[in-house]
Structure formats: C-alpha cells, structure tokens
Amino acid sequence: MPSSHIMSAYDEELKYLTRRISEMGGLAEQMCADAVRALVNSDTALAQKVISDDVILDSAEREIGEKAIVTIAKRQPMAADLREIIGSLRIAADLERVGDLGKNTAKRVIAVQETGIPRNLARGLEHLSELALFQLKDVLDVYVTRSAEKAEAIRQRDEEIDAMYTSLFRELLTYMMEDPRNITSCTHLLFCAKNIERIGDHATNIAETIYYMATGMQPEGERPKDDRSNTLSAILSDE
C-alpha cells in the first residue's frame, strides 16, 4: 500500500480483512496437510480434528464476508481499495472450499482404514499433496506481498499438479483392474486425489485474484491444464 487513507479507521478495516485472510489461509493449509497425513497413517483422531476445524474456517469466511459488506457500505471504496475488498471476498471463498476439500479427505480416512493403503499409492498421494500445499503456501505468501509477477508464476505451475494427478489416476485404475476387491478403497483414494488436485486449482484461483488486486487486470491467456483424467479412454489407450 503506497499511502494511508485520510480516515485511519478505513485503513484499520482493510488491514483487518488482510489479517483474517492470512489466518484463514494458515488454517486451511494446516487442515489439508493433516488430512493427508491422517490418510497415509490411518490416523482417525487427526482426521476427526480436521473435520471439526472446518467449522472455524466456515465461520471465518462468513465473518470476512460481513466485514467486507459493512466496509463497502460505509466507505464506498474505489479503485485499488475496491479491488482489495472484492479480492478478499473471493479469496475467503476459495480458502473455505480448500477447507471443505481437506475435510472431505479426512472423512475418507475412516472408510479406507480397514483395508489400509498400499505403500506406493500412499507415496503418490503424499507427493501430490506436497505439490498442492506448496502451491497454496506460496500463494498465501504472495498474498502478503501482492506481487503480480509472482502470482502469475504460481498460476503457471498448476500444470505439474494436474500431470501428477493424471498419473495417480492411472495407477489407481490399474490397481482396481488387478483385483476388484481394491475397488472400494481405490475409489475413495481417487476422490482424495481429486480433492488434493482441486486444492491446487483453488490456489491458482487465488493467484489470479491477487494478480487482479495488484494490477486491475485479469491475467492473460488460458491457465495451463494437464489434467487428462476426464478423457478416460485416451489414458487407457496410452497403455
């Protein structure tokens, strides 16, 4: 922020939104990391914690929404201030969704608990979640600095997650074909993998929002995509 508002209370309101978003980001990140850890280690207690943490994230999103509305009504923000507030609303919504995805993953811990997860699949999931959480962590750092360049760079990185997800998808399919008894747990794992991949998408959304907040322009061009799991036959014929 280049300069302060003439009304200092306005600055306080904007700072409050920024602080709450950062807090939400931290919690969402923690929830997702815990959910994957719970899944890999079959830790139901940790999964339970993730599920209950989601309530905090939901209420934070609602609170940010209410504060933003009040600020808009009171201050009639313009230009960068307006983009800041609208951006906060969007980012809060993305983070709330990230929390939901973490929670959904945690719920599946209980379902796959009995059969356990094959080691190699667990490693694949861990790697996917490392990528997605790295993406999320980076984008939250960029939120603090508001660097349009860095936001753009993060947006370009989503491709890697998509590629990893496609390969995991293929692995799970093979596993199911080998032994139909694996189908239940593998389907759950597939959902978990999709959840994690979606976290990457939300991080990319946030990067785009930050870019808009900083520049007033939408980032140019299509975001890179390498998720080919929606063309199932294409993947299978690659074999």
Binding site: P2, S3, S4, H5, M78, A79, L82, G216
Partner: protein, 271 residues
C-alpha cells in the same frame, strides 16, 4: 521503419480522434487570475451526448475550466484565458461570436439554486423571451411546459406556475434552474456542483435528470462527490494543481486509473 510506424500510429490516432464526435474541444487552455496561473495548457474534449465529469481537489482548476467553456471567466476582470476552445469546430473567442448567443448554446447550472425572484413560469420563460424563441403566448406555454417536463418538475408545479420560484424546495429550485437552462435549447449544459446543496433524494432526482438529458445534450459536470461522478458520467477528467492529470472512461477511472494522483484522490489517501 521507425518513422513509418510512428507516422502510422499518429495517423491511427488522428483517425480515432475523428471517429469520436467532440462537441467542444479545449486546446492548450491556460487561465490566469492576475499574476496567478490557475490552469496549465489543458487539452480536453467534450463528447457529444456524453456526461463528462471533472474531478479533483479544491483549487485544482476544474471549475475554472468549466467556466472557460461558456466564457464565464470574461466576467472576472483580472482573468485572462489563452488557448483555443471550439464549439462544433468554431472558436468561441472569435470576434464574430456573440457571447450571449454562446451562453444560450452552452447553458450553465450553478452550485446553489438561483431562481430569479419571479414566478416559476417567468423563470423558465425569461430566456426564450430574450432570445426571441417564442412567437406567441401558446408557443411560450409550450416551451415552459416542455422545459419543466424535461427537468422532471412539471407534475410538481403545473398547478402553481404563477407562484414564486423562490418558494420551492431546494431540490425543486435546482430543477427549476435546469428547466431554465434547457428552455433556450442549449447544446451543452455545464453544471458546477449542482447537487452539493441538495439532500440525497433531491440529488437522486437531479442525477436521474442528468441521465435523461444526456440523450439530447452534452453535459459537463464538476463534482466533489466521487460517487456522483462514477454514477452519472461516461467520461471522467481528473485535475490537480491546474493540470489535467488524465481523462478516461469513467468505468476505468474508478476501478483502475493510470495516474497515482488519481488513485490517491479517489481512494481518499494522502497524496
């Protein structure tokens, strides 16, 4: 090669300028009040059927520029205007231009409603009468009615046209002044903070009126309310310390202006 591209860009620019219909154009307009220079080489066009808002902090020259457009600065002894201002391509400082005629074509509404101490009817009829726009009483009645209609005041005053204009409420008085400006069939209407003395409802009425008048007139409005500029105008020009900082589409100006000074001003920050 470079020269060629430059020439091509310039050509494209000129072509673009020609495609826009400018009602009035100010070129290198400077204004001095005695030794003090109030306006520095302002280049700004007023587009046809468009509301142009002039914004900027107090003393930035926006009202000064507005007053140049119908030569209101002529009335100030010490004021000197340089540069060229055209209305439909014709220089408004040309000796052949009759300034009374000019002010009929470029009408003005002021900050404080200033109806004449006469009846509502006479307030509106005064201009058309001195300009000889009505040939008969029914003609004049017609002008008065349609002007009051256009100003959105007819229904409120049609049964008391002979009552004093000064007896109306502030918002009604301002709309009466707008009716008075409209009565002489101007082409451009200048408004100098027309709503600053009005309550929010009267303000909304005047803004609605500006929106309607735009279909037939070019409007230039000076306002201190950012929200008002954003609501009523299509183009916005930002002034600062006598300089034109930037002029752009209103939508762009209030979401993503180019100049830091505009940013700071519209967001209420320390510049």
């Amino acid at each position: 090669m470079n020269v060629l591209t430059e020439a091509a860009t310039e050509k494209a620019l000129v072509k673009k300028m020609n495609e826009i219909n400018y009602k009035m154009v100010g070129q290198d307009v400077s204004v001095y009040y005695g030794d003090k220079r109030a306006l520095f080489d302002v280049n700004l066009g007023v587009r046809d059927n468009t509301v142009t808002a002039l914004i900027g902090p107090s003393g930035c020259g926006k009202s000064t520029f507005l007053r140049c457009l119908n030569r209101m600065n002529d009335t100030i002894q010490s004021a000197k205007v340089t540069g060229r201002i055209t209305l439909d391509g014709q220089d408004i400082h040309d000796p052949s231009i009759d300034v009374v005629e000019l002010r009929a074509r470029v009408g003005m509404v002021f900050q404080k409603p200033n109806p004449f101490p006469k009846s509502i009817y006479e307030n509106v009829a005064y201009g058309p009468r001195i300009h000889g726009l009505a040939r008969s009483k029914p003609d004049m009645d017609q002008i008065v009615e349609s002007s009051l209609q256009k100003a959105g005041l007819w229904n409120e005053v049609k049964d008391r046209l002979n009552e004093a204009g000064t007896g109306l409420s502030g918002g009604q008085q301002q709309r009466l002044c707008i009716a008075r400006a409209v009565a002489v069939s101007p082409e451009v209407i200048l408004m100098d903070e027309p709503c600053s003395a009005l309550d929010p409802i009267a303000t909304a009425r005047v803004e609605e009126l500006i929106h309607e008048l735009r279909a037939n007139y070019s409007i230039v409005i000076v306002t201190h309310s950012m929200q008002q500029a954003a609501r009523v105008s299509q183009r916005t020009a930002m002034f600062h310390l006598g300089h034109l900082v930037e002029e752009d589409d209103t939508d762009k100006m209030f979401t993503n202006p180019n100049d830091q000074r505009t940013q700071d001003y519209i967001m209420g920050r320390f510049g």
